[in-house]
């Protein structure tokens, strides 16, 4: 750790984690925070299902129920799913492209901390007794100042605004990383599928999140400064909010699912010992899905009354998405075809993903047909559909990814027995919970209802659904047990932990040293590491001689900047403009410091490079 020319203070323990700019550690931070919020969102889901287990129950009141459903949706999407995806992105992308870090390590850390403090702010609403209760979509005017005068929606608006900054930074960062930091020889058409998926996802983030930013600003202005964007009484338009929300919201759905597609592609190909079938069509399908993703937002608004022309256009555009998605499904199946499939927890989640996601996909096409959607819309059918896509798609993908890359992230193999128990309880619980909900919707049960009258034919299926939810909860707990028991054991993962690794991350030790690659590898083809292994090599061909490695310095500024935003958020919410000013001053002050004092980083010299590396 000899510093070269500049001395850089390096921290240990907690301070190390608070100041780190290392993508691998930031990935772990994202994972811990994301999983924590996942548990909170899961608890909210369980409470929702308990309330709905039987008709006309009053376990939680109607107002609390609306708060629970709002916070469940918001937490799961913005604070659990996306951060866990960012965890995988951070842990894997630089390794897959043979880079030593991301393009902007400082911004990476800033992105994490803004997300974290945004999430904390949102969840503090439970303690403030003013919880958002207008659904994660926060449709005006229910979310406006007239019909929601408390501070609940303010927490939603400001919490998401702060967390959104972090997400946008992450998107820019990963796009720049994948464009500029690839190892020599790693052309775009040699990128691992997960990297491709993240590249496209990042692009979606970059172009979709600003829309949400503006929507939230407008809603905040309406609520805090008496603006008139969405207030019909003063010339505003509540449908405008719906448009803005869904122009962001639909790409957001693909922001969630495309990384899962990437994970599944890598996992399926690794555990069937086969090259991904139809790689170039997979890439093309991903790009096409992203492109179409921006042209279908109004299918969330078929019943809003946009008229037959809009409904027809958006119906057809939405149906078209089924084609590239279908291409992906069949490519996965034919990757498995002729392969040598090994059943690990990761591959089981990936294989479980395929039929589950197909079911979510086909109900998606059903929903795309606008006249029929008049019946499905805002019923439990929709609830079933998007849980099949988001849980059956994304969460299965995340579990597959976590089990797959866990050894790379932590140097320890997760227990396979417990892993399989996680899979089966979660898988069965999932289908039990959500399959029946299709029928609930068709039988006439609207969504977001705090309870339902008896004798409508809803009772049994709701009970089944609740039982399933508990099974999913058990699955999650088993996963946690697995993590903690594995943690107590010594590191046991080899570099190529699954022995069939195909991409660059498996060519280096688990966990990788902080500089990742001692020598930047030379990439000679798709599935670079597999190619070398097949030619009998045990390591990548280096593209540079061993030399001094430059590293960015750790910094506490991202944390302080995020705290500044957090303080400013509270200031705005409670109309204490001085507090808001102080918070913003802290944030901009840190930006100033960052600009004025150059970060020269430090160097790790060759003689220090092997210290503490687990081989």
């Amino acid at each position: 750790m000899a510093a070269h020319a500049h001395t850089v203070k390096r921290y240990k323990g907690l301070m190390d984690w608070l100041t780190t700019v290392d993508h691998k550690k930031i990935g772990i931070l994202y994972l811990i925070a994301g999983f924590f919020f996942f548990l909170i969102g899961g608890l909210e889901a369980i409470l929702i299902r308990i309330q709905l287990a039987r008709p006309m129950q009053n376990v939680v009141g109607e107002e609390t129920f609306n708060q629970l459903l709002t916070m469940h949706g918001t937490t799961m999407i913005f604070l659990a799913a996306m951060p866990m995806l960012f965890a995988l992105m951070n842990a894997v992308i630089p390794l897959q492209i043979g880079a030593r870090d991301v393009a902007f390590p400082f911004l990476n850390s800033l992105g994490f901390w803004t997300f974290f403090f945004g999430g904390v702010l949102l969840n503090l609403s439970w303690f403030a007794g003013a919880v958002p209760d207008a659904g994660w979509t926060a449709y005006a005017t229910l979310s406006g100042p007239t019909y929601n005068p408390g501070h609940g929606i303010d927490y939603y608006v400001i919490g998401l605004q702060i967390a959104g900054i972090g997400t946008l930074l992450g998107g820019i960062n990963f796009m720049a990383t994948i464009i500029n930091m690839r190892a020599p020889g790693l052309s775009f058409m040699r990128l691992p599928m997960f990297t491709w998926a993240i590249f496209i996802t990042s692009a979606l983030i970059v172009f979709a999140f600003p829309v949400l930013t503006v929507g939230l600003v407008a809603l905040m202005f309406d609520r805090l400064f008496q603006a008139n964007f969405f207030e019909p009484g003063t010339g505003g338009n509540s449908v405008l909010w719906e448009h803005i929300f869904w122009v962001f919201g639909h790409p957001e759905v693909y922001i969630l699912i495309l990384p899962a597609f990437g994970v599944i592609s890598d996992v399926v190909s690794t555990f069937s010992r086969k090259r991904l079938f139809g790689y170039s069509s997979m890439v093309f399908a991903t790009v096409l899905i992203a492109f179409l993703g921006f042209m279908v937002w109004a299918h969330h608004m078929f019943t809003t009354g946009l008229g037959p022309v809009a409904n027809g256009l958006f119906s057809i555009a939405t149906m078209l998405i089924a084609v590239p998605t279908g291409v992906k499904i069949f490519n996965w199946l034919f990757t498995l075809w002729g392969g040598s499939i090994r059943f690990t927890t990761a591959s089981m989640f990936a294989i479980g993903f395929i039929p589950t996601f197909v079911m979510g996909g086909v109900t998606g096409v059903m929903l795309a047909s606008a006249p029929a959607d008049f019946q499905y819309h805002d019923s439990y059918f929709v609830v079933a559909h998007f849980h099949y896509v988001i849980v059956g798609g994304l969460i299965f993908g995340i579990f597959a990814g976590l089990h797959y890359w866990w050894p790379k992230m932590f140097g320890r193999m997760l227990n396979e027995g417990l892993g399989k128990l996680t899979f089966w309880t979660f898988f069965i619980g999932f289908h039990l919970t959500f399959f029946v909900q299709h029928f609930l919707g068709l039988l006439g049960m609207p969504r977001r209802v705090a309870t339902y009258l008896p004798y409508q034919g809803f009772d049994t299926m709701n009970l089944i659904s609740t039982i399933g939810a508990f099974l999913m909860g058990i699955g999650t707990i088993v996963f946690l047990i697995n993590v903690f028991t594995t943690w107590a054991k010594p590191r046991n993962a080899t570099g190529d932990a699954w022995e069939d690794g195909r991409t660059l991350e498996w060519s280096i030790p688990s966990p990788p040293p902080e500089y990742n690659f001692k020598q930047t590898p030379l990439v000679r083809g798709y599935d670079a590491w597999w190619k070398e292994k097949m030619e009998g090599k045990t390591e990548m061909i280096p593209a540079e001689p061993v030399g001094s490695i430059h590293m960015p310095s750790p910094s506490i500024l991202p944390l302080i900047m995020s705290i500044g935003l957090f303080i400013a958020g509270f200031g705005f919410m409670y109309n204490q403009l001085i507090v808001a000013g102080i918070g913003l001053a802290i944030t901009f002050g840190c930006m100033l410091l960052r600009s004025v004092f150059d970060d020269h980083g430090f160097h790790i010299e060759p003689e220090d490079q092997d210290k503490g590396v687990h081989v």
Partner: protein, 355 residues
């Protein structure tokens, strides 16, 4: 208790039971049991799409299961399978076939998108109804007839009913599942939709858009009656309002209820119009009147009792609604009982064959 034991016994048959249920559902509520041409059109489209999608699901599942059984790795197998890059023929097949399937679904979709969006608002034959959704009740105004009612939509069979919808406060969504799909009631803009009721009967309607704490309780009923009955209903609604006979009660009713509510059609208040409330299936949309509905369930109470309970503490049944409870409103128990009875007896005799 009994029900719970039954449920437990059924647990092993859950999936089958669910499927069985899906076949029927309540005639007055289920989208799978359409009672009008609009819902039938939508049901046909649903069946078509379910059929196509079932085909896709079966194909994928079949390939998936085959692959998992056929290509599982045997213990100790270290062989390397052939590394296949892709297959253009196959890839074209699974691009073109889905496109063809989508075409099959897309054509009727477009056809019905326009078909169901037909505008009958200028049609003299159609009945024009303006729906205004409030937190948490429904107002139905028959513009050409000069009538306003609430919570129970009365329509004649055999006519097109053209709805013009708006929201008074927040966004709601107007949905009568067995008659036709939903349409949102946006505050500030007006939507249009037509429905048809070929059969006489009472159909359940729901609010389908989260609108506040009592969203779950924002039910309404649509009652289709014969053309003759409808005419009689119209004239009965237009007849001068009937006040309580007891002068004291009438005074209390006027002072404490009619500030917001209305009876008759002369003025309309900010709360539901109560004309003929004794005929309605429910009080507040969710308390079923055992002496009115055709199929009373255990736990349902007579209208007078429901009215009494409701007026006494409306917040208990629909939290966050705007109606104060009886004590806040200064209603004595005596007045409360008398008003409840008066309202329960406030029936409009319009149906040819009794109830």
């Amino acid at each position: 208790m009994n029900r719970r034991r039954v449920t437990k016994r059924l647990l092993p048959l859950l999936a089958g039971f669910a499927l069985l249920l899906s076949a029927c559902g309540r005639e007055d509520l289920s989208t799978l049991n359409p009672q009008g041409p609009v819902a039938e059109t939508q049901f046909d489209l649903m069946k078509l799409s379910i059929g196509i999608m079932a085909l896709v699901v079966v194909v994928v599942f079949a390939i998936c299961i085959y692959v998992l059984i056929r290509f599982r790795r045997r213990p100790g197998d270290t062989s390397i399978p052939k590394q296949v890059e892709g297959n253009h023929k196959l890839e074209i097949i699974w691009t073109v076939i889905p496109l063809a399937l989508l075409l099959v679904l897309g054509v009727p979709t477009i056809q019905h998108v326009f078909g169901l969006a037909k505008d009958y608002s200028k049609d003299k034959e159609a009945l024009q109804v303006k729906v205004t959704a409030h937190q948490y009740w429904w107002e139905f105004e028959y513009k050409d007839l000069g009538i306003t009612t609430a919570q129970e939509l009365i329509v004649p069979t055999g006519k097109k009913i053209m709805f013009e919808m708006t929201g008074a406060d927040v966004k709601h969504s107007f949905w009568i599942p067995s008659i036709g799909g939903k349409m949102d009631t946006n505050p500030g803009t007006t939507n249009k939709m037509y429905l048809e009721f070929p059969k006489e009967g009472v159909f359940r309607g729901k609010c389908a858009e989260l609108c506040g704490p009592s969203h779950a309780y924002m039910d309404f009923k649509a009652k289709a009656v014969s053309a003759d009955s409808f005419e009689r209903w119209v004239s009965a609604m237009k007849a001068p309002a009937k006040m309580p006979e007891d002068v004291e009660i009438a005074k209390a009713f006027e002072a404490k209820c009619l500030l917001c509510h209305a009876i008759g059609q002369e003025n309309q208040g900010s709360a539901p119009n109560l004309t003929g409330i004794g005929d309605r299936q429910t009080i507040g949309g969710i308390l079923y009147n055992s002496d009115v509905v055709a199929d009373p369930q255990p736990g349902d109470k007579p209208a007078a009792q429901n009215l009494h309970d409701w007026i006494k503490d409306p917040q208990q049944y629909k939290p966050d609604n705007k109606m104060p409870n009886a004590a806040e409103n200064g209603l004595t128990e005596e007045e409360l009982t008398a008003i409840a009875k008066y309202l329960a007896d406030y029936k409009l005799d319009y149906q040819s064959s009794g109830k």
